[in-house]
């Protein structure tokens, strides 16, 4: 296990990341269902573990701070404190603070922690006063540096009885240090019950036969004592009773048998009551993307399903066998036979490599749900900031995507969500007038389509203002005045870099802050983005992304002397040029194909790439598709499929738009990968131009400026 070889605090960070997600999810769930015991328990467990592991890894400040929040949630769990929006609000802020204590402990404002705790205290107390029918819980005394902020029962101490599991010594538990730890909380008497110890002949030296009873005088809470048993709590029989003088009704006896007993414990307590919002404390953390955004998550560790590792191991095993067969063939004398068996091995090897590729790809895959989960907080905070009611719905969380891709999607998606909430979804008043539900809905969907992942952001807001977009585009020279353009193409203009430079566009036209930034980051992932909108009914942005960044299935083509790759996932059909070309009386000759009752424009790659010489007799057309847009590419020859390891082009070729990258072929030569998006755009505009040429009445302008 190399788990010990790395920086141990890094492991804690990873673990804490998950715990923070768990906590945040639970809190946001509680906002909708405040009484759910499972959810409360989940939040509590997260806090408890953050505290425990935090202390273990030396994050003292974190442990101390979290302890106070945990205490409150323990009382929530017991039904002493109801779940209120106020409580959730402060706890979310507290969560951000904990995160900061881990990520950047030196930048933490010393006053921030106590201030949050004071807010928490206020929320808890405010609640207590409003619900006089409940036994008023003693207020949480929050004194930041003091180690004993918990509501201490009036009792001066506890009687603690514990029986360690028989195998406690084997597990490495040292009762002496545990007793010492408890005694350090105050003072007390320890009694050891050795009645179970057998005679020497029956004694198993590794077995724990002893029982202890401690009368501990302390001001610490029960939890502090329970924490001593943190690691063996399941197995230990532990009884903690307050010492006689003043037993409180609630904590008269807490029998802890297992962590899972929350239900039983809280069964007696009154149901938490949802009360109206107590003045929500002012958010201290800036309301925006979660603290994690912008900062890439640590790349170091990926959690992998054991099945996948096993699969990988099996395949590597097979590969080893194939390799030894190969060796045998190489050393066998018989030439004739060698060739035949060599072919068989090559086939076998081909299968194995492609399986290995799939498995390895799988290891890098993570469900997109982890990313979607983060946006709940974004949506919650934004709707508070904007004063709009917005509900986030997600579908297809289980859809898997390359880990690095998931990380790079965070920012563009936050951007799109922000845009949809800021400009798409209307205020409650306007929605009521429009006959819509007051609460807007933002829907995130992820699905696999072919070799691609499709992520859609839908809102049910007012949609894009196409007239404004047209006006803006005309003003900025992206579109000739009065030019004929479909609504779909018009909407697409919001991604044009020239479109959204001015801030004023936002307020007036509805959309467009930095949509080009979104497009740029999606382009960088070799994906594409499309927007569609229905006036009054909402807007939909679809991101199409390749499953992985490293290797794709490609179709190898030949044009002139060079070979090119088209991503197989973009290939729709392959036809003979002669069969499919439609005679067209246009100036540029036949430039359309008739494919499945549809006219598809096509491009001669020979012309486009200025290949000298005349084309061979039987040219083929590869129909490539992106979304609903198609274009035919005329090539000399189809060479077959090719597993393509993508290499990016250098900065020296940043200006080359027709290629998205390059790869190395079997013979060591370099082949370029065609950038389908660009070619389709090019083809579509050519088509528009041709249509205009055929029908001069339509020709009022062109938007050739788009093609660069």
């Amino acid at each position: 296990m190399n788990i010990l070889s790395g920086d141990p605090s890094e492991i804690f960070r990873q673990e804490a990341d998950e715990l923070f997600v768990q906590l945040e999810t639970a809190l946001l769930d509680l906002e909708r269902a405040p009484g759910d015991k499972e959810t409360i328990a989940s939040a509590f467990r997260a806090l408890h573990t953050i505290k425990g592991s935090g202390a273990m890894f030396g994050f003292e400040a974190l442990a101390k701070f979290t302890h106070h929040v945990e205490t409150v949630f323990d009382r929530v769990r017991n039904g002493d404190v109801p779940v209120t929006p106020g409580l959730i609000g402060v706890t979310l802020i507290a969560r951000d603070h904990m995160r900061l204590l881990i990520d950047a402990p030196h930048q933490v404002d010393a006053a921030a922690g106590p201030a949050i705790l004071a807010d928490l205290d206020r929320v808890v107390r405010g609640q207590g006063e409003e619900l006089p029918r409940k036994p008023v819980a003693p207020p949480v005394r929050v004194v930041a540096p003091a180690p004993a902020p918990v509501p201490p029962p009036a009792a001066p101490g506890y009687r603690i009885r514990f029986v360690l599991p028989a195998n406690a010594f084997v597990l490495g538990t040292n009762p002496a240090s545990m007793i010492r730890e408890m005694l350090e909380m105050g003072s007390g008497k320890v009694r050891c019950d050795a009645s179970e110890v057998p005679g020497l002949d029956g004694l198993d030296p590794e077995r724990c036969y002893l029982r202890w009873e401690i009368e501990l005088i302390t001001s610490h809470a029960v939890e502090a004592i329970e924490d001593v048993f943190l690691f063996i709590r399941h197995e230990t029989q532990l009884t903690i009773e307050p010492l006689p003088p003043a037993p409180t009704p609630e904590e008269a006896m807490v029998a802890v048998e297992s962590v899972g007993s929350e239900r039983a414990e809280s069964a007696e307590s009154t149901k938490p009551v949802v009360a109206p919002v107590v003045a929500e404390p002012v958010a201290r953390a800036p309301v925006s993307a979660p603290a994690s955004s912008g900062k890439p998550a640590p790349e170091g560790v990926v959690k992998v399903n054991a099945d996948r590792i096993n699969g990988l191991m099996n395949q590597v095993g097979e590969l080893v066998i194939v390799q030894s067969r190969l060796k045998q063939i190489a050393h066998s004398g018989e030439e004739e036979l060698s060739i035949l068996s060599l072919r068989a091995v090559v086939e076998e090897m081909g299968r194995l490599v492609s399986e290995l590729r799939e498995t390895t790809k799988g290891i890098r895959m993570v469900p997109i749900g982890s990313l979607f989960g983060r946006f709940r907080r974004v949506v919650r905070d934004l709707s508070k900031e904007l004063g709009k009611q917005v509900r986030l719905e997600t579908r297809g969380e289980e859809t898997e995507l390359d880990k690095t891709m998931v990380e790079s999607l965070n920012d563009p998606l936050v951007h799109l969500i922000r845009n949809a909430m800021d400009h798409g979804i209307e205020h409650a008043e306007a929605r009521r007038l429009a006959g819509k539900e007051e609460e807007g809905v933002l829907l995130l969907t992820a699905t696999h389509v072919g070799g691609q992942v499709l992520i859609a952001v839908d809102d049910d807001g007012k949609g894009l203002n196409l007239d404004r977009i047209r006006a803006k585009a005309e003003e900025r020279g992206l579109l000739a005045y009065g030019a004929e353009i479909s609504d779909a193409d018009l909407a697409q203009l919001i991604f044009h870099p020239g479109f959204s430079t001015a801030q004023s566009v936002t307020g007036l036209s509805g959309r467009g802050v930095g949509m080009d930034v979104v497009k740029k980051s999606i382009d960088a992932l070799r994906g594409n983005v499309e927007v569609s909108s229905q006036p009054g009914a909402g807007c939909r942005v679809v991101l199409r992304l390749p499953l992985t960044l490293a290797i794709i299935d490609g179709l190898l083509l030949k044009v002139g002397e060079e070979r090119y790759i088209v991503p197989l996932s973009n290939v729709d059909a392959i036809v003979e040029l002669a069969d499919a070309a439609l005679e067209h009386p246009g100036e540029e000759g036949n430039r359309f194909l008739f494919i499945r009752d549809e006219l598809v424009p096509f491009l001669h790659l020979r012309d486009l790439f200025a290949v000298p010489g005349s084309p061979p007799p039987h040219e083929k057309v590869v129909i490539v598709v992106v979304g609903k847009r198609r274009v035919g590419l005329v090539v000399d020859q189809i060479l077959g499929d090719h597993q393509t390891v993508i290499k990016s082009l250098s900065r020296l070729h940043a200006d080359v738009k027709s290629f998205s990258g390059a790869t190395i072929l079997g013979d060591g030569r370099v082949a370029l990968i065609l950038e389908i998006d660009h070619l389709i755009e090019f083809g579509q505009h050519r088509e528009e131009r041709l249509r205009d040429a055929l029908d001069p009445a339509r020709k009022r302008g062109s938007y050739e400026t788009l093609v660069r």
Partner: protein, 149 residues
């Protein structure tokens, strides 16, 4: 990145009939000619790609870039692979050289003021000049040659 220290060694190559000096510490490899994949629509002086040990590397025609005309292929032609930072990205680039002469240390004649008159190539790419066996050697300003323009 400082490409030149005062007496660093240089690789001397011939491009389109003139001698050029490249600081030795940026040179990664000197290769015999390899098959070149042409990049349609790219700028003419970087219209090729080669495979250098599994990496896809752009091939620059230095002569064309600095205005001396395209390189010719001779038995002495080589690809000189250098590594340098382009727009903040460590990049491998191959240069076409008509001939690779030697690694030498030589005295720079006019360190700063290279005369614009009398140069066959575009002066802004020349950083300094030196002399080797009676011939002038031009010291390239690689940062400028590869700056995105």
């Amino acid at each position: 990145m400082k490409l030149w220290s005062d007496n660093s060694k240089s690789l001397i190559i011939a491009v389109a009939g003139d001698l050029f000096a490249i600081p030795v510490h940026v040179v990664c490899d000197i290769l015999d000619l390899l098959p070149v994949t042409s990049v349609p629509t790219a700028r003419p002086f970087v219209n090729g790609l080669i495979n250098v040990r599994g990496r896809v590397v752009p091939l620059m025609d230095l002569g064309m870039k600095i205005g001396l005309g395209a390189a010719t292929t001779t038995p002495d032609s080589r690809f000189v692979v250098i590594e340098l930072e382009i727009d903040g990205e460590e990049t491998l680039v191959a240069l076409r050289a008509d001939k690779v002469h030697e690694v030498a240390e030589f005295e720079l004649v006019m360190a700063e003021e290279v005369p614009r008159i009398g140069l066959r190539c575009r002066g802004e790419f020349i950083r300094a000049m030196g002399r080797r066996q009676g011939r002038f050697v031009m010291v390239l300003d690689l940062e400028r040659v590869f700056a995105s323009d």
